[in-house]
Symmetry: C2
Subunit: 120 residues, 2 copies
């Protein structure tokens, strides 16, 4: 079974963390049968942590987990912090395939989405 | 003349700010003739500031400026800080039309873009 884990920064503001949970719900609906589970985790300031999120996927039966960074720039969080957490989980669960997808800001569609918001 | 001003948070990391400038270049190319100018500004930690960015658009001849928040969640920056800066600029330039577009995280296409990155 393949799982999708959306990873956001996490906020002190509960409403911002709830936005991520709502987005994970939308991903689950749009993904159809592509993933056996779709959930979210947070780098800091909210739960579950990335390792906790990965372990929840494994408990649900995931053999492969795609970690999807909901971040706009390739800073320290994307380049180092998220890979570090994933490596920790990988060491604890060597038989599970963990893959980090490109971060949101790297998507070529972003410019078009922005122009749509601007109302051109 | 209508201008588009992409507004990002700004980072201590120069490469992150440069990512925004590259994105503004991509927006300029994709927008075609929809805007007389496309540029970027930063809420903090980098220049130009939002007010400086708006005033640069005005110097270039903008009568209408669309401010486009490159943010993922509707936190304090989107709900309060950016509108505050725009209001400051509006008071200084009452004859110019300033409009804040929805922030990136509000775009309905985001879930689809994320699923594309995950490689479903």
């Amino acid at each position: 079974m393949k799982s999708l884990l959306l990873v956001a920064h996490g906020s002190r503001r509960a409403a911002s963390n709830d936005e991520i949970r709502v987005l994970a719900d939308a991903l689950r609906q749009q993904a159809g049968s592509a993933y056996g589970s779709v959930s979210c985790a947070f780098l800091e300031l909210a739960e579950p942590s990335i390792v906790q999120g990965i372990e929840a996927c494994i408990r649900q039966g995931a053999q492969e987990i795609v970690i999807l960074p909901y971040f706009l720039s390739a800073g320290r969080h994307v380049a180092s912090d998220i890979p570090g957490e994933v490596e920790t989980a990988q060491r604890a669960h060597p038989g599970i395939t963990l893959r980090i997808a490109p971060y949101l800001g790297a998507a070529p569609e972003i410019a078009g989405v922005l122009l749509g918001l601007a109302g051109t």
